[in-house]
Symmetry: C2
Subunit: 462 residues, 2 copies
């Protein structure tokens, strides 16, 4: 595809250990882990390695939507690597069988971290970069992985920029109502916007209670009329997800990251919700911003546009969504509810019980809600250092992360007017001052860490 024509990156594959934690499970099998690399900006053998800890998707999507990292590499003379997370993109250990039970069992955070550690070691060796400081970068779950890399391998990783990483809520340290309450922040544009959304969902509820499915189909341009409470639940999930995505991706310019988004989608949504036409028509058109950005769809198909999974904030579509569903069924806690009181959505509960039932049935697993907290310290992070936790206040994930600095080297960077890891994106004329300032702070801290680490790496061992 065309993306590699303008991108500086070369696509490569690393023969990665399949199972780091069981010497007998797969013999000594490896799989091909994809990574992208560019030395265009690198001061060879001297400049740092900027390593993106890939998250739940095709690694090109992250590379092409994290321009800050290459811009910073150009400033600081860094080698840049974007590593793809196992079981995503083209890094499928068992090809199309990867999502069978038990093959899927090798998809864990622990395996992914060990992958990155081995890849970093191998690249530093191959490229004569053993004395080059390593900084890890990541957004969202990728930001969590960056934090974990710094906790786990501080000898190898000098510092981490964790952008919009919901490191507390996913460890089970949060309030189930937080996420959709913060999605409801649409009210910041106009209290009437939230009221309109709530009103539209209320109309939908009344029609559903009267089993007026035909009218629901017509008003919302569904391909088929809903025919059961399950269909209505699916419909509510699909609609709620549109608001979630627009809140997360509320960038000041149009983007093509997780689907196509106009500039300022929340503003567009509110304008749409407040049109003079009926509330349900407005709700349909608002959902269309997300699901029908090209206008090509004549109707909405309930089950192909949105897939329910163990992540109520959405798993996406395709094989990446299978992998994320599995992670949400095992280590990553994403039990968020909407309740129509602290948020504008229909009450939809996804608690421990629902999760256990779903995950046992779907993947033959039981989640371990305390595991991440045990392995990665929960909120007791004070023993760590050299981590930036950046968050934008538009982002519903922000309050699942670290919002206040924990020490002089565990720095919270807040970005007023910023959506989901806006700071990782490349510079844009529409950027608010806040993100320009945040990137400057991040660049300065990273330069400091690199300098300190260079000294450490050149000090002979005792």
């Amino acid at each position: 595809h065309g993306r590699d024509q303008t991108s500086p990156f070369t696509e490569k594959y690393f023969p990665q250990t399949l199972d780091h934690f069981n010497f007998n499970s797969q013999g000594n099998r490896t799989f091909n882990q994809r990574y992208l690399i560019t030395d265009r900006y690198w001061l060879k053998g001297h400049g740092p390695l900027f390593f993106y800890t890939g998250n739940e998707g095709d690694i090109w999507d992250f590379a092409l939507n994290s321009g800050f990292i290459t811009e910073l590499a150009a400033q600081q003379g860094a080698l840049v690597v974007f590593a793809e997370h196992r079981y995503y993109g083209k890094s499928l250990p068992f090809g199309l069988q990867s999502f069978n039970v038990p093959e899927v069992g090798l998809l864990t955070v622990e395996q992914a971290l060990a992958d990155y550690a081995l890849l970093i070691s191998a690249l530093r060796g191959q490229l004569a970069a053993t004395r080059c400081p390593v900084i890890v970068f990541g957004g969202s779950y990728g930001g969590m992985l960056s934090v974990y890399m710094r906790l786990r391998y501080p000898n190898m990783v000098a510092g981490a920029l964790a952008a919009s990483a919901p490191i507390l809520s996913t460890a089970g340290l949060g309030d189930p109502s937080q996420f959709f309450r913060d999605v409801t922040d649409y009210e910041r544009l106009a209290p009437r916007c939230k009221d309109a959304v709530r009103g539209a969902f209320h109309q939908l509820k009344e029609l559903a209670e009267n089993q007026d499915y035909r009218r629901i189909q017509e008003k919302l341009s569904l391909c088929k009329p809903p025919s059961s409470p399950e269909d209505i639940y699916q419909l509510n999930g699909l609609l709620r997800n549109a608001f979630t995505l627009m809140a997360m991706l509320d960038y000041p310019y149009s983007t093509h990251f997780m689907g196509n988004m106009p500039a300022n989608p929340v503003k567009v949504a509110c304008e749409t919700m407040l049109r003079a036409s009926g509330l349900l028509e407005n709700l349909r058109d608002t959902a269309g911003i997300v699901y029908n950005s090209t206008g090509a769809l004549g109707c909405f198909d309930l089950y192909s546009l949105y897939v329910q999974c163990a992540d109520p904030t959405g798993c996406g579509l395709g094989s990446n969504s299978l992998a994320w569903d599995y992670q949400a069924c095992t280590e990553i806690n994403l039990c968020y509810d909407s309740n129509n009181e602290t948020d504008m959505f229909p009450p939809m509960t996804f608690g421990e019980t629902e999760r256990n039932i779903y995950c046992s049935k779907r993947w033959a697993v039981l989640p371990r809600p305390r595991w991440l907290q045990t392995q990665f310290w929960g909120d007791a992070l004070s023993a760590a250092s050299n981590i930036i936790f950046s968050n934008g206040d538009l982002d519903p994930w922000a309050n699942g992360g670290v919002r206040k600095s924990l020490s002089s080297s565990l720095i919270a960077v807040n970005i007023p007017g910023g959506a989901h890891h806006l700071d990782l994106r490349g510079s844009n004329d529409a950027d608010p001052e806040s993100v320009i300032k945040a990137r400057k702070t991040e660049a300065d801290l990273i330069a400091q860490w690199v300098k300190m680490e260079r000294t450490r790496l050149r000090t002979p061992k005792q």
Copy 2:
């Protein structure tokens, strides 16, 4: 058995997760992990938890040979737990099938550390001890595990006393000739002692070259005459191992830890080697200090008294030796050679090639010599804190560990005249001043760590 009559410990079992790293491998199976606990000295809800990270053996053996920990608990009001390592003692996840392939695959350092983390969390919860600081203790491989617990879980573990932990050599950072060179330290008592040992092995070699197997049998009181070079190799291994054990366990009083040892066994060995009778008779009687301490054996059986394995320093006997062999075949690097130049033993090589061949055949695994170094930082430990690395200069393991302090909180404690983790043993009238001083240093540091951690645990989160 009698040991629990005088011991303060109660034996308990914890339902431990069988596979921490694969949610699909064993469903949600658990196994019963044994641990010993005493609250006899505990200032309830206030005093620290002293947690021994069990190593390669029955946990009672460690509890009964680590009296310093209970003595310190009495001084500092601590709760004491000795946790048994999975696949050792009675903590066999699959009973007698535990050492089959692939069942043995769940025996790894990583699984053991996660076991200890979960057990600590559970006990702190059950005993209302969440604000009680945790200090980990361990000797030898158990000391390595204590270091790893502090690296991995500094939020949970305030500090580690790692006694005689060969943390560098087992990570592959060492010289293959170091171990048996240091066993050859018998020469400190009399250069003639080393010469006598070397002379005895030389006589044995000549007899073997002449295939005078009958005379070898007679001189060394073997039950059967050797009949092949393999038997001679086995015999050399058995004899070398006697010197290894006496060097490790060269305590100033008699012990019953790894077999029965007289007080000062190296001195006894040298006296035996320098008797007026023939060198081979002396060698036989010296081996008898280890293999025939009661004098009950009429002859030595080559293959029942000593088992060759992936650890040339000895795997012991019984099912614990199987588990340790597997660990030496996977993560723990123990490729030590004797060469008859820097040591007094016959040349016996156990390098990467020999290890790979043996381990593939025995366990269907290939060792990963770099894995420990990647996961636990090798010699780049400066990012860690609050660890005591204690070593006695009589101990052949000492120079595989950290001998110089790495920072103000990574403290090397050297114990002149000390054998393998002498400092962990209870006080004895025969203790040298050095170990009394070392224990005092350790006690003071641990008290400091406990105090600091108590403050941290009582500081409200931001």
